[in-house]
């Protein structure tokens, strides 16, 4: 999923003001640099809706939009997407992680490793 700068601005507005229509979004974003025209905002909202990032319902003649995921959950989803290559295809990973994110070592095995490090540290003084 790729987000453009304007899409980010729209999302940020909707995170702060859920359930807004295109006029409300435009009234705020129009004052910002690169905020876009009413038509541009309408297309951006449609695009985000089609990408599955927004949900909408009709009130009278206008659609009211809200973000499906809050900021933190959207970031978590993107991290999952980026690291999913790492997880699902393992050896095909395009990322390099400090710790391999998935490990079959359970907590007790990791504790054993921890104890080993402590022992070795002690032995070396």
């Amino acid at each position: 999923m790729v987000l453009g700068e304007l899409e980010k601005q729209v999302l940020q507005y909707l995170w702060a003001h859920p359930d807004s229509d295109v006029k409300q979004v435009h009234s705020v974003l129009a004052t910002q640099r690169g905020g876009g025209t009413l038509n541009t905002i309408q297309s951006t909202l449609d695009r985000l809706f089609k990408k599955g990032v927004l949900s909408r319902h009709k009130k009278g003649l206008a659609y009211y939009y809200q973000a499906k995921l809050d900021r933190e959950h959207l970031i978590a989803k993107l991290i999952d997407n980026v690291t999913s290559d790492f997880i699902s295809e393992g050896e095909n990973s395009l990322i390099a992680a400090f710790s391999s994110i998935s490990s079959d070592l359970d907590d007790s095995q990791l504790e054993e490793l921890e104890n080993l490090i402590k022992q070795q540290r002690k032995a070396r003084g």
């Binding site: 987000l3 959207l74 970031i75 991290i79 997880i87 050896e91 095909n92 990322i95 998935s102 359970d106």
Partner: protein, 325 residues
């Protein structure tokens, strides 16, 4: 049917491909014997060895193609005795050479389309992550991290630190990890990621993976995992310039434990299952490791070259005596 110089080119490409497949098959057999010996080498030597290993079929098949070209067109009778090719100036698309060539083209197109598709999706997600992250200048936070450049902080409770992006790699760190680490641990994580950044490991991994596409599954995965382990251990070693092996190992285990607490959120596949234990072991008990074995590598390359030449010649004769061309 193609006749003349074009037929010669198509035959030479077929020879190169045959060589490529035979070399991959031979290497896959050898891998079973040498894979465990790799642990005796230092991470840098292991990285070089693995790079030579995966590049070897492409280089040698080019040499073999050149050999056949000289054997066919040149005045070298000796070459012709070692290996020769019948019907060099005639090429049938409905022959086994034709099927080999077309099959290869189809496989390459399929693999490349998969790679490009993944690359596009990956790049899109990274662009979105960049937009939603904050750039942190880590040097301003810590006096002890002069080599660490900026990183992208992500507002997520998931503990993660990684370098992503093939052309323009960047370091990402989540709040979830940052707030659970001490300043020293954070510095270790960032220096490790910085090492990946400066070495262009994401690009290196991508190219390495591309070179591995012709290995069968049972060798492809361990070869790629060995390479990933070597890259991680090289990055670990760079952190050792300013931290002890024990501190790096302890941080590694701590981060792994934090990530384990999020197991329900991640779909695990147990990639790198042994990596943490192997990396910890390397960090806390660093022993003398062998360096790159130049002479053995050269002898192995020469042996591979001559066995492949013989196999190409023999298999060509065998197939054409068993079947009609």
């Amino acid at each position: 049917m193609v006749v003349g110089d074009w037929a010669l080119i198509l035959n030479l490409v077929s020879i190169g491909l045959l060589g490529l497949f035979i070399l991959h098959a031979l290497q896959s057999i050898f891998w079973l014997f040498i894979s465990e010996k790799l642990a005796d080498f230092s991470p840098k030597s292991r990285k070089s060895l693995l790079l030579v290993w995966v590049a070897c079929p492409y280089v040698l098949s080019t040499v073999i193609t050149l050999f056949f070209y000289l054997s066919i067109t040149g005045p070298f009778e000796l070459l012709d005795e070692v290996a020769h090719w019948h019907h060099a100036y005639v090429f049938h698309f409905d022959s086994w050479h034709g099927f080999l060539l077309l099959g290869f083209i189809a496989y390459i197109v399929w693999q490349l389309s998969k790679v490009i598709r993944r690359w596009v999706i990956h790049s899109s997600d990274i662009k979105s992550l960049n937009l939603l992250s904050r750039v942190i200048s880590s040097t301003s936070n810590s006096n002890s991290s002069p080599e660490v450049s900026n990183y992208y902080l992500l507002d997520s409770a998931k503990p993660a630190a990684f370098v992503a992006g093939i052309i323009k790699p960047r370091c990402y760190l989540t709040n979830g990890l940052k707030r659970q680490l001490t300043e020293e641990e954070l510095n270790i994580v960032l220096q490790h990621e910085q090492a990946h950044l400066t070495s262009n490991d994401a690009l290196s991994k991508c190219l390495f993976n591309l070179l591995c596409i012709f290995y069968p599954g049972f060798t492809k995965k361990p070869i790629k995992m060995s390479y990933a382990l070597a890259l991680e251990q090289i990055a670990d070693q760079k952190v050792l310039k300013s931290h002890t092996g024990f501190d790096v190992a302890a941080t590694l285990v701590k981060v792994a434990k934090l990530q384990n607490s999020y197991k329900t959120d991640f779909s695990y596949c147990y990639f790198g299952s042994e990596h943490i234990a192997l990396r910890v072991n390397e960090l806390i008990t660093p022993g003398h490791k062998k360096s790159f074995p130049i002479i053995i590598s050269l002898i192995s390359l020469a042996l591979l070259l001559f066995s492949t030449l013989s196999v190409i010649d023999a298999s060509h004769h065998l197939i054409e005596s068993l079947f009609t061309h």
